[in-house]
Amino acid sequence: AKMAATARKICAVRVFLTSRRSVCTCNMLYANAKAKKDYARALPGDWQGRVGLEIHAQISSNSKLFSGSQVQFSAPPNTLVSPFDASLPGTLPVLNRQCVEAGVLTALALNCHINRRSLFDRKHYFYADLPAGYQITQQRLPLAVNGHLTFDVYDERTSQRQVLKSCQVRLKQLQLEQDSGKSLHDQENGEVLVDLNRAGVALMEIVTEPDMVDGTEAAAMVKELQLILQALGTCDGNMSEGSMRVDANISVNRRGEEMGTRAEVKNIGSIKFVQKAIEYEMQRQIELLEGAGEVEEETRYFDWKSGKTISLRDKEQRHDYRYMPEPNLPPLILYTYTSAPGGAGNTVVNIDRIREQMPELPAATRHRLVQEYNIPFQHSVALVGEGLVEYFENVVDVKGKGRDPRSAASWVLTDLLEQLHKRSLTFQECPVTASKLGEIVDLVTMGAVSTSTGKKILSLLFDGDNRSLSQIIEDNQWAQIRDEETLGRICDEVLESHPELVEAYGKGNKKVVNRLMGEVQKVTNKCADPSITSRLLREKLEGQ
C-alpha cells in the first residue's frame, strides 16, 4: 500500500546549494565540443595529481532495493513511498533480486571478482531525507571487488578525436546500497521539504582506486562507465536526472613525494563538470601548497556557476558512521551452475546465467563497427558515444537495403545530431526513425534530391511534418533538376545575365564557374544537380 503524502515541512538549518540539477551538457557531440579545450594543460612545475572516483549509479529496476515501491523520476512528491521507505517502525527490508542481478551483470562487465557471499551494513547519520537514520549499504563485504576498466582518452580539440592514450583504472569495489530521499531547501521560508520518492531506490556504488591523474582522464573514465552501464541496461546513466552521480577524491603532490591530502568533491552532476571540478580543485590545492598552506581533508562541492569547488564546512566531514551489520538481511549468497541448489534454479541468483546474458560492450562495438562497416574509427567512437549504434545500423540496413555505411554514419553523426542539438532533444526523443532517415539517404544517393534538400527534408520531419517524402518534394518543387535540356536552358540564361563573369572566365579565371553555379542554384531553388550543372557550364564557357 502506498503511503499518503508524507511530505511535511521542517525547518531549515543546513541550507546549502547543490549543483545537482544543472543542465546536462554531456551529450554534446564530440565534434561540437569546444575546440579551444586545451587538453594538454599540464599541472605546473613538478606537480602531479591523483583522482579516485566514487560513482553512484541508480539501478534501472521497476521497484526499490528493499521495498515494492515503484521507481520513477519526477513523480509527484511522496507518491512512491511504502511503509518501509518511510521507515515506519516494524518494517523490514526485502532484497530485490532484479537489483542484485543488475549489480552482478555490471560487476562482470567491469571485470570484478564477485563475492559469492556478501553482507549488508547500516551506515548511520541523521539527515532529514534519510528516514531510518541509517543507509543500508555493503561496507564490510561488498557484492564485488577488484575490477578494472579500460578506456581511451580522445583528443577533443579537433574533430578527428584521435586516441591520445589508453588508460586503465582499478576498481576497488562495487556495492549495493539505498539512495536517500531528497531535501528541498526553501530558503525564503526557512524550511526543508522532504520528498521520499527516491528513498530506498537501488544504487550501485562503484569505487575506483586513485589511478587517474587529471580531470580529462576522470571525465573519460566516467563517460566510458556510463556507456557500459547503458549497454548493460543496468543504469540509464542520466546524470541530469541524478541517476549517475560522481564524487571525486582529489589530491596533488610533487613528483617523487607521497600522495597529498585529498579533498572530496561531492555530487558532481555532469561529465563536463567532472573535468572542470577536478581541474579547478587541483589548481586550488597547488596554489595552497605553493603558498605554504595545507590542503584540508574535507568535503567540497562544485559550484557550476562559478566553476569553483567550495567547502561544505560540514560538521559531518569527520562523521563516525557507526557501521554495524544489518540484522534483518541474511548474507547474500550467489550461485553458479555447479553450486546452485537443485530445484531452486529460479529463486537464486546464478552468476553463470547472468554472464551468458552479457551484451556487447562499447569497446567491442567500436571495433566491430570499424571491421564490419569500414567506417573511420572516430565515427565508431562517436556512434558509440552518442548511443547511436543501433540507429546507425538500422539506417545502413533497413530491411536489407544495404546503404553505404560511410554516408549513413555521416548522416547520423552530422545531420541527425545537429537537428537533435538544435532542438535540445535527447536521442530517445528523436521523432525521425532510422527507416525514414534511410529513405532520405536513398533519395540523395539516387540524385532525386540534392544533399542540401535532404537536410531540409530532415528538418521538416523534425518539425513534425508527416507528409510523405515524395509529397514534400512535390509540394516544395524540390526534386533535383537533372534534365540536361532544362539545365542547359537555365545555364544559358545565367550566362546571358552575367557577361562580366563569362568575360572573366575567358581571361583565365576558371573559378568563376563556382559563382555561376551559385547563380544557377539560386534560380533553381538549390535543385540543380551540381555535377551536371558544373559540366554544362564548363562546356558552354569553353564552347564560347
Binding site: I10, L88, P89, G90, L92, R122, Y134, L329, P330
Partner: protein, 533 residues
C-alpha cells in the same frame, strides 16, 4: 467460561454451546473487572465485539476459519495494528497509528481471532518489570487486592500520567529524567510486579481476559512475565515466526512470543502463526507443520540436561527447590537427567547488554519526528528539533541505551565491544549446540531467580540493574536463537507463581512442548481464580 483453556473454548464455540459474541462480552467484562491492573494501553472492545459477532455468524453457518475463530486474544503494543494506535508504551509513538498490520496480527485476524486490545509493556520493551511504561506500571494479579477504592485511584492515576505527558516542557523533563516518578503513593504500591516487558499480555492471559496473547521476547520478555504471572510463555526458535510489523528492540534477538494458560494452547497458537513470511527475510523458508501434543507423553527416552551454571547467586531457595523437584520428577519417570555445562553463561549478560544497546541505538535512529510520531516544537534548526523530539519522546532507559549503543558502535570502540560481544554470542550458541549434540534433548532451568518482586522493592534499583538480574536465565537463549518455554509449576509460600524454563534445540518446538506438557500434567499448577464478573 473465563477459566477455560483455549482448546476447550474452541470446542464449545464449534459445538454452539457458547457464542463468540457471549465469550467476547464476558472477556470485556473481565477486563473491566480487573482494569486497575493496567493491562491495556489501547482497548479495542468495540471492534472486538464486531469481530466476535462476525465470528458467531461464521460458527452458525458452519464456516469456522480456524480453531482460533472467535477466540479472544490480546496483542502487545509493540505489534503494528492497522488503524489501531501502536505506542510501544512510549511518548514518541503515543499517537502513532500504523497503516499496516504485523504479520503475526494479520495471521490472527485471518484466522478469526478477536482482539480485545493492545497490552501494556515497558517502553520499547526495554525492561523486565512492565513498570517503565508511559502509561504506568502493570500490576500482577496474584495476591492483588481488588478494591473499589483502588479502582478509582488507579483510574485517576492512569489519567494523571497521560495528562502529564501533555504538560509543559518543564514537567516533561522531570518525568523523563525520573522514570520511576509515576509510582503513586506508597500505600498503593503494595503489589507485585508482573515481570516484563510483555507484562500486559501475561496478565491478560492469567486473569482470563483472553485465551492467548502475543508478546515479544528479546532477552526473556515473554518467559519472565509468564513466570511471574503463572502462565505458559513460549519463545519460539528465531526465524520461525515473522517479525514483520513488530517494533524492534534487537532485531537479531527479537522473537514474537505466545502466552497461553496451558501448553496445548501454545502449540495451537504456534501452529497458527509459524511459517515463512516473505516480508521477513529472516524467517526460514521451510514449511511449518502444525502439531498437537499427545495426552500420554513418554519421557523415558528423554534426556534432560541441568546446566550447572544456572545455580546462580541470588537464586531463591523456593525456586531452587522447585527446580530440583521437577528434575527429580523427570528422573523418577525414567528420563535421563544429567548435569551439563554451558561454560560461557557468566559472560552472556554483558554480551547481551552490548548487542542490545548497539542495535537499539540503530533502531531508534528513525524516531526523528519527521515522518511519524511525536515531534518537538523547537524549529530553530533540524538538530535542535531532533534533540528535543527525542529527549521528550524517549524515557531515560531508552536514551541511556541509545547513548551506550552509539558509544559501542564508534569506530574506535567497535572491535572492543561489538565484535567481542558477537564472539561471545557465538561461544554461547556453541555451548548450547555442544550440549544438544551430546544427546541432551532439553534443558531444565529456572526462568527467574525468584517469584515476583513487590513493586516498592523492584523500583529501588534502576532498570539496568534489574534487567541484568532478571534476564540472567533467559537471555542466553535469545543469543543462541533457540526455543524455550516457561511452565508454571508451583506457588511460593507467599502464594506467587514459580515457573521453570525448558530449552530445546532449534526448531524442536514439538519435543520442547511435549516435555513442557508432561511437566504441566505432573504439577497440576493452581491457576489464578477470580470471581466471575
Amino acid at each position: 467460561m473465563l477459566g477455560l483453556m483455549l482448546k476447550e473454548t474452541a470446542r464449545l464455540l464449534s459445538e454452539g454451546k457458547v457464542s463468540a459474541a457471549e465469550l467476547c462480552a464476558a472477556c470485556v467484562a473481565r477486563a473491566r473487572q480487573v482494569q486497575q491492573l493496567n493491562v491495556f494501553i489501547t482497548e479495542t472492545y468495540d471492534t472486538a465485539q464486531k469481530q466476535a459477532a462476525e465470528s458467531a455468524q461464521r460458527h452458525r453457518e458452519g464456516r469456522r476459519l480456524h480453531v482460533l475463530d472467535g477466540i479472544p486474544v490480546t496483542i502487545k503494543d509493540a505489534f503494528s495494528t492497522a488503524g489501531v494506535r501502536t505506542t510501544c508504551a512510549s511518548r514518541i509513538l503515543r499517537d502513532y497509528i500504523p497503516p499496516y498490520s504485523a504479520t503475526m496480527v494479520q495471521r490472527l485476524v485471518d484466522r478469526g481471532a478477536v482482539s480485545l486490545g493492545k497490552t501494556n509493556m515497558d517502553e520499547f520493551a526495554m525492561g523486565c518489570g512492565s513498570v517503565d511504561s508511559l502509561f504506568g506500571p502493570v500490576r500482577n494479579p496474584w495476591r492483588y487486592n481488588f478494591t473499589t477504592t483502588t479502582t478509582t485511584t488507579t483510574n485517576k492515576h492512569t489519567r494523571a500520567i497521560r495528562d502529564s505527558s501533555q504538560d509543559s516542557k518543564g514537567k516533561n523533563m522531570q518525568m523523563r529524567t525520573m522514570h520511576h516518578h509515576h509510582v503513586t503513593s506508597t500505600e498503593d504500591s503494595d503489589w507485585f510486579i508482573t515481570g516484563g516487558s510483555s507484562g500486559g499480555s501475561a496478565v491478560a492471559v492469567a486473569t482470563g481476559i483472553c485465551k492467548a496473547a502475543l508478546g515479544s521476547d528479546t532477552g526473556g520478555s515473554v518467559r519472565n512475565p509468564a513466570s511471574y504471572c503463572g502462565v505458559v510463555g513460549l519463545k519460539p526458535t528465531y526465524g520461525l515466526l515473522s517479525r514483520h510489523g513488530l517494533i524492534p528492540l534487537v532485531n537479531s534477538l527479537d522473537v514474537p512470543g505466545i502466552f497461553t494458560r496451558c501448553v496445548d494452547d501454545a502449540a495451537i497458537v504456534l501452529g497458527a502463526l509459524a511459517g515463512h513470511d516473505p516480508w521477513d527475510s529472516t524467517t526460514v523458508p521451510d514449511a511449518f507443520h502444525p502439531f498437537s501434543l499427545p495426552e500420554d507423553i513418554d519421557v523415558t527416552h528423554l534426556h534432560v540436561g541441568i546446566p550447572k551454571e544456572y545455580h546462580a547467586p541470588h537464586l531463591s531457595e523456593e525456586t531452587l527447590h522447585t527446580w530440583r523437584e521437577v528434575a527429580d520428577m523427570f528422573e523418577d519417570a525414567g528420563a535421563k537427567v544429567s548435569q551439563v555445562s554451558l561454560p560461557h553463561t557468566p559472560y552472556s549478560i554483558v554480551c547481551y547488554s552490548v548487542l542490545c544497546a548497539a542495535e537499539v541505538a540503530s533502531n531508534m535512529a528513525r524516531y526523528d519526528g519527521l515522518e511519524f510520531g511525536h515531534r518537538g516544537s523547537d524549529e530553530s534548526s533540524t538538530e535542535a528539533l531532533y534533540a528535543q523530539t527525542r529527549h521528550e519522546g524517549f524515557n531515560d532507559v531508552v536514551r541511556g541505551r541509545i547513548l551506550a549503543g552509539n558509544y559501542f558502535l564508534l569506530k574506535r570502540h567497535y572491535d572492543h565491544y561489538f565484535i567481542q560481544a558477537q564472539r561471545i554470542r557465538r561461544l554461547i550458541a556453541d555451548d548450547f549446540k555442544t550440549v544438544f549434540d551430546s544427546g541432551v534433548d532439553i534443558l531444565l532451568t529456572p526462568t527467574t531467580l525468584s517469584p515476583a518482586w513487590p513493586y516498592s522493592w523492584f523500583v529501588k534499583a534502576d532498570n539496568r540493574t534489574r534487567t541484568e538480574q532478571e534476564d540472567v536465565f533467559t537471555q542466553p537463549v535469545n543469543l543462541a536463537g533457540i526455543p524455550a518455554v516457561n511452565v508454571p509449576v508451583a506457588l511460593s509460600e507467599a502464594g506467587l507463581p514459580i515457573g521453570l524454563q525448558l530449552i530445546g534445540p532449534s526448531f524442536q518446538e514439538r519435543t520442547l512442548l511435549a516435555a513442557a506438557k508432561w511437566v504441566e500434567q505432573q504439577v497440576n499448577f493452581p491457576h489464578l481464580q477470580l470471581p466471575e464478573p
